[in-house]
């Protein structure tokens, strides 16, 4: 059994070694595919993480009527807190607001008494929900007429940009998946076509289908795994480059750290799986093994 395994594996390795060109092609192909795919995945992961931090910067401000009980206020806060897309609700009293306004705009506020109402500051966890949240709040009795203010346009802009990013990311990711499948399949199929004569000869000396096919599968796995390994290094390098580039930008676009083990582990495993699947397809074609 072990002896048999050793034979099949060593056949695969001999083929990898003797067939330098084909191996090179298959490895670079799967490497490119995985680099694109993996890079896309990790970039998406980064962008999604970044995007999550954004909506918290956006708030809805709710002005309240003067005639209301503390209980009503508390109840309204609770109701708002339960709305979908709301992260936090805070009461800002008219005194607090006026003090802030006085600090920020001394010219306007000089010499007049506080005309401001009490207000809620509602932070959103999901910016897409802003309109719905606003509509719900507007209906509450303790809310002033037209007392719900939020920067609708900017929020919508940001929200749509992010949605676009997500769409484009998913579309490109899916495309990569397709492309890399075609590419790896091609690489292995070419190997088999190039070796058709050899396969005929093998079967002529009485080799069974599995004896012929298993080394080819192992070859595919190894090529895919090596491709994944190289792709991991490329992604690490690309990540470093990105950090360098982004260092030039002040502020909140920060490039997060990459989880090393996750990158290597997942790409090598994915590469191996890919190589296996594609070589299974390639091997399956009846014209190949005849």
């Amino acid at each position: 059994m072990l002896d048999r395994l050793e034979f099949l594996v060593s056949e695969a390795f001999t083929a990898l070694r003797r067939n330098t060109w084909m191996s090179f092609a298959a490895i670079t192909t799967s490497c490119m595919a995985l680099f694109l795919l993996g890079g896309m995945a990790f970039a998406y992961r980064g962008i999604a993480g970044y995007a999550e931090t954004l909506p918290s910067k956006l708030e809805v401000r709710v002005f309240l009527v003067d005639k209301r009980t503390d209980f009503e206020t508390k109840q309204a806060m609770e109701q708002i807190g339960k709305l979908k897309g709301v992260r936090r609700v805070a009461l800002v009293t008219k005194a607090e607001a006026w003090a802030k306004l006085q600090r920020e705009m001394p010219d306007i506020t000089k010499g007049i008494s506080n005309p401001l109402p009490d207000a809620f500051n509602v932070s959103l966890s999901d910016v897409d929900e802003a309109n719905k949240v606003a509509t719900s709040i507007r209906k509450m009795p303790i809310v002033e007429k037209d007392g719900v203010k939020y920067e609708g346009e900017t929020q919508a802009l940001l929200s749509q940009t992010l949605t676009l990013l997500r769409w484009v990311g998913s579309a490109l990711g899916g495309l990569m998946l397709l492309t890399s499948a075609v590419l790896i399949y091609n690489a292995i199929r070419m190997t088999i076509v190039a070796r058709r004569r050899e396969i005929r000869i093998m079967s002529l000396v009485g080799a069974t289908r599995s004896t012929i096919v298993i080394p080819l599968l192992i070859e595919g796995i190894i090529q895919g795994a090596i491709g994944g390994l190289i792709a991991s290094f490329l992604i690490m390098a690309g990540h470093q480059l990105l950090i360098r580039l982004m260092a030039n930008f002040a502020g909140f676009i920060r490039v997060g750290a990459l989880p090393l083990i996750l990158v290597f582990g997942s790409l090598v495993a994915l590469g191996a799986l890919y190589g296996l699947i594609c070589s299974m397809f390639a091997v399956r074609d009846p014209r190949g093994i005849a």
Partner: protein, 224 residues
């Protein structure tokens, strides 16, 4: 042993494509332990007869029986074990181009389930048997025509097959080597193997005239 029908062709026709008819209604029997030469002009169908037995070619009509088994209709999955019981020397040698001489032998042994240690021990004597020990590390493209031919013959003999199908095994060999090779086949025959040889080598036919000769002509047996 004589008298046991080992190989039986019954009304076999082979057509390649629509227009090429390689064999027309061929019937004959070969008994267990016989040594048969197939002769005939080129294109007369000698190789096709041998390929029918190894299931490289399937008949358009008729049946090919080997030990009573219908070779032409057996399931694809039984073919490897069928071929393991034969030694096949293809006319074009059929060597694996990316394997060295010894690896070509080794692969054939490993493929049929021999263990690594057995293989390592067996290769040297096998190559010596056909005068090739000094070329063990050469790839087929690095060998002369005759060396390739002897390698193909050596490979066919590794499993002590009970049926040997040799297609022009001396086409690239000088007289001495030809006689050596046929003598080798004859020895295996004397140990019980059935041997079918396609050849056009008159010298060989003359030297080994004690054996049966089947003459082909335009896809038919003209003289058996």
């Amino acid at each position: 042993m004589a008298g046991v029908a080992n190989i039986e062709f019954k009304g076999v026709c082979v057509e390649y494509g629509k227009y090429v008819r390689a064999l027309t209604d061929v019937s004959f029997t070969v008994e267990k332990g016989e040594f048969v030469f197939f002769v005939g002009r080129t294109g007369s169908g000698k190789s096709t007869i041998l390929k029918l037995l190894s299931r490289e070619v399937q008949p358009t009509r008729g049946t090919v029986l080997l030990d009573g088994l219908d070779v032409s209709n057996m399931p694809e999955s039984d073919v490897p074990s069928l071929r393991r019981r034969m030694g096949i020397v293809p006319q074009d040698f059929g060597l694996l181009p990316r394997k060295k001489a010894w690896e070509n032998i080794g692969y054939a042994m490993r493929a049929v389930g021999k263990r690594r240690i057995e293989v390592r021990k067996a290769i040297e004597p096998i190559l010596e048997n056909v005068n090739l020990a000094h070329r063990a590390d050469a790839f087929p493209t690095e060998m002369s025509g005759g060396e390739q031919q002897r390698l193909a013959i050596a490979r066919a003999l590794i499993n002590s097959p009970q049926l040997i199908l040799a297609d022009e095994p001396t086409g690239n060999l000088d007289a001495d080597h030809s006689i050596e090779i046929i003598t080798l086949l004859q020895e295996l025959n004397q140990q019980g193997a059935t041997v079918l040889v396609a050849t056009h080598d008159l010298m060989v036919l003359e030297k080994f005239s004690q054996h049966r000769v089947i003459t082909m002509e335009k896809g038919q047996i003209s003289h058996a």
